[in-house]
């Protein structure tokens, strides 16, 4: 066989898989301490119980308003729109503290994470003034209207249609998996404004700001495995959308949505959904005096992975803060992070002999039950992991 010569490595040809590390400014320690103290007070007063996957399931409007009063919503929104003009890293610290505590953040989640930044980038002045102050106060809630019955990760296949009419558009079609639509005030709907062109699948899509109390909007629950009502099907029957609620540029919906997804793929919610279960697991083990080598190593592996994921996620947040959009790194965080959320579930099952109990009010058994029943969603939402790996492969030059 012909010897294969040693070549100089092509390591430099690989794209950046993770941005440079971020060191949080020392000043953030005070903010973190404030948030922890607030959460301690809340738990002391039994205002809510820590749960797993709170950004989907923990809908608590009074909690959202209390966060708003503290200035911890709309943190990166400029003050002229009712926000607080703070940095993305400051917001990151508040967010990760809330998730780690298992606090009920679902009501404001989409509005604060996604809609606020999108309105700032693509919204009209009137739209910003109409929605941003309420988002920052924790009083205005949003959903996301991307998926459809036949469109999962393949968003280019959406079929909801908007037809031009006098002074606006008429929408017909169906959106699914809309978290919180039954409580939310509005959502962004991705719809076809031009007929589908198979040669340019991503063209002709636009976004609309749909107020969910508009005539012709019908909201139907899609119960989760737990029986809880978070998801909805949202049907449009000839719903009128005024021109003032066209969001961004007509026909540019695909680019806008892709930009929004970059924000949502790498946040701490991608590895902290089951963190309250991990903390409870460690508490159970420590309380039972379980510190044998096997236990230490298994727990250590979970914690080393958590620490690493946080470093990766912070690195992406730092890059976003400096105006970059590290799409590849964000996809990798979501892939690793959401698989990690599942690993915690298995470790908790196997390390502690307490069966899951969906009827329990709180504690390990309840956290485990919720985590098991919510786990299938972790690697689906925000684009399935398999599709994200395709994005990574393309980024590495394989497609």
């Amino acid at each position: 066989m012909r010897p294969v010569a040693a070549t100089s490595t092509p390591a430099a040809a690989l794209p950046e898989l993770v941005p440079d590390p971020v060191e949080l400014p020392a000043g953030l320690a005070d903010l973190r301490a404030e948030v922890r103290s607030f959460l301690d007070d809340e738990r002391g007063a039994a205002r809510w119980t820590p749960r797993a996957d709170v950004w989907l399931s923990g809908w608590d409007e009074s909690f959202s308003r209390r966060l708003g009063e503290r200035g911890w919503l709309g943190m990166t929104i400029p003050t002229e729109y009712g926000g607080h003009g703070r940095t993305a890293l400051e917001r990151y610290v508040v967010t990760e503290e809330l998730l780690a505590a298992g606090a009920p953040v679902a009501a404001h989640w989409i509005a604060d994470r996604q809609i606020g930044p999108s309105l700032l980038r693509h919204g009209t002045e009137e739209q910003r003034r109409a929605f941003l102050p309420g988002i920052a106060r924790g009083e205005v809630y949003f959903g996301i209207g991307m998926s459809e019955p036949d469109s999962g990760s393949d968003l280019a296949s959406v079929r909801t249609r908007a037809t031009r009419v006098d002074g606006g558009w008429r929408l017909s079609g169906t959106k699914v998996w809309t978290s919180g639509a039954h409580h939310a005030h509005a959502f962004f709907a991705l719809v076809r404004t031009e007929p589908r062109d198979d040669a340019h699948r991503h063209a002709g899509l636009s976004q609309f700001l749909v107020e969910l109390d508009s005539p012709g909007v019908e909201i139907r629950p899609i119960p989760l495995l737990t029986g809880a009502h978070h998801f909805n099907e949202v049907r449009f029957d000839d719903v009128f959308i005024p021109d003032a609620r066209v969001f961004g540029e007509l026909g540019n919906g695909w680019a806008q949505v892709t930009g929004e997804l970059a924000f949502e793929r790498s946040g701490p919610e991608r590895f902290l959904s089951t963190y309250p279960l991990l903390a409870s697991l460690v508490g159970e083990l420590a309380g039972a005096g379980r510190a044998d080598a096997g236990t230490r190593r298994r727990v250590g592996s979970l914690v080393s992975r958590l620490w690493t994921l946080r470093a990766m996620s912070l690195a992406v947040a730092g890059a976003l803060e400096s105006g970059r959009a590290p799409e590849l790194a964000a996809a990798l965080v979501k892939d690793l992070g959401t698989r990690y959320e599942n690993e915690i579930v298995d470790a908790a099952r196997l390390l502690v002999d307490i069966p899951p109990d969906p009827g329990a009010e709180s504690g390990f058994a309840r956290l485990l039950a919720d985590a098991v029943l919510h786990a299938p969603g972790f690697t689906l939402r925000g684009g399935t992991n398999e599709v994200l790996r395709g994005i990574v492969a393309r980024g590495m030059g394989l497609r």
Binding site: T9, E23, P25, L278, A279, A286, R297, G300, S304, A393
Partner: protein, 353 residues
């Protein structure tokens, strides 16, 4: 922290030249001279103006290019120990050895051994040292023996050659009645700091080797055709390589974050001990997955001696165990987590601020 891309380019230009040493497993002498000439062998010496961050950049490149150079041993370990004890060491490749008499909780498989005799300015010592990295090629070895530090000239040592899985020298050195080149007092906590420094350096090398293995695999998947198209066009192969990409990103992020913690807080800080432990454990875990995928993508040619892939994958296998495998370091992380309990776990993970 902006990583030093000029330094990375310089290091890559020196190290990428020729890593495959088919006939021997010795030091890449030409590369060593080039590195020494460019100041790359003493980056963390405060007198040279370098930093730990610079050393980290160099080690990642050295790992990716399978450099046959004791850069970490010379600079981060022996260089640091000598300086900390106020001792000068000769120019050239160095290694640090912590003797069995020093005690401490050290991982298996690291350099060790015994020293007898008084040393000092007049006395002589005898030493039996094991698993000394690059022992046969060193200018000197810096030995931590209890609370003293000795710089021993290895020129007169009897060498028992040994190697790790990557054929990197891990030699036995025997010295009989030699006068130390220098003797001094060890700083407090030296053994613990050496363990952390070695684990951090190894994490960076692992992150580099993982990146090297992925890069070679991506390139190969773009060239090798089967069933009429490059194997990289197959979804199954893409999924594997993306999974490897996630592991490489994790190793890189973990080792970089631990470096940044060590630079900011120093090696004596508890948060550095935690960060380095987590990083080495994570990098060792990543090594297994990346090496497995790299070989699967390369097919049969990849596990022959004919192919250069082995230069990085054998390093992944050797280094994942050296300076503490994931069981050793996860044990420490897990103990800290159980100690912190349910309420203390999150502050432990987030550190400061």
């Amino acid at each position: 922290m902006a990583r030093n891309s000029d330094l990375a380019d310089l290091a890559a230009s020196i190290l990428a030249a020729g890593s495959d040493d088919r006939d021997g497993t010795g030091l890449d002498t030409a590369a060593w001279k080039a590195c020494a000439g460019a100041g790359l062998t003493s980056l963390t010496d405060p007198d040279t103006g370098g930093t730990l961050d610079d050393a980290a950049v160099l080690l990642e490149v050295a790992g990716a290019d399978a450099a046959r150079l004791p850069l970490a041993e010379t600079d981060l370990l022996a260089g640091w120990l000598g300086r900390a004890a106020g001792l000068a060491a000769p120019d050239g490749p160095l290694a640090a050895v912590v003797t069995d008499a020093t005690g401490g909780d050290r991982p298996a498989g690291t350099a060790g051994g015994t020293v007898t005799g008084s040393g000092g300015t007049t006395g002589t010592v005898s030493a039996a040292l094991t698993r000394v990295p690059w022992g046969r090629s060193l200018a000197a070895v810096v030995v931590l023996d209890g609370d003293r530090v000795l710089v021993l000239d290895t020129g007169a040592a009897a060498v028992t050659e040994g190697a790790n899985l990557a054929e990197e020298p891990r030699d036995g050195l025997t010295l009989d009645g030699v006068t130390p080149l220098a003797t001094g007092s060890a700083p407090a906590g030296a053994a613990a700091e050496l363990t952390l420094r070695a684990a951090l350096a190894r994490s960076l090398l692992l992150a580099g080797a993982a990146r090297g293995a992925l890069a070679r695999s991506v390139a190969y998947a773009g060239e090798r055709t089967q069933f009429g198209r490059p194997i990289g066009r197959f979804q199954a192969v893409q999924q594997m390589l993306a999974e490897a990409g996630a592991e490489v990103a994790a190793a890189s992020a973990a080792s970089a974050a631990a470096t940044s913690t060590a630079r900011r807080a120093g090696f004596a800080a508890p948060e550095t001990a935690f960060a380095v432990a987590a990083a080495k454990a994570r990098c060792s875990e990543a090594a297994t997955a990346v090496a497995r995928i790299a070989h699967q993508v390369h097919g049969a040619i990849g596990f022959t001696r004919e192919h250069a892939l082995r230069l990085v994958t054998t390093r992944l296998w050797a280094w994942r165990d050296e300076d503490g495998d994931e069981a050793f370091w996860n044990d420490r992380v897990g103990a800290a987590a159980l100690d912190a309990g349910a309420d203390g776990l999150w502050p432990l993970v987030t550190g400061r601020p």
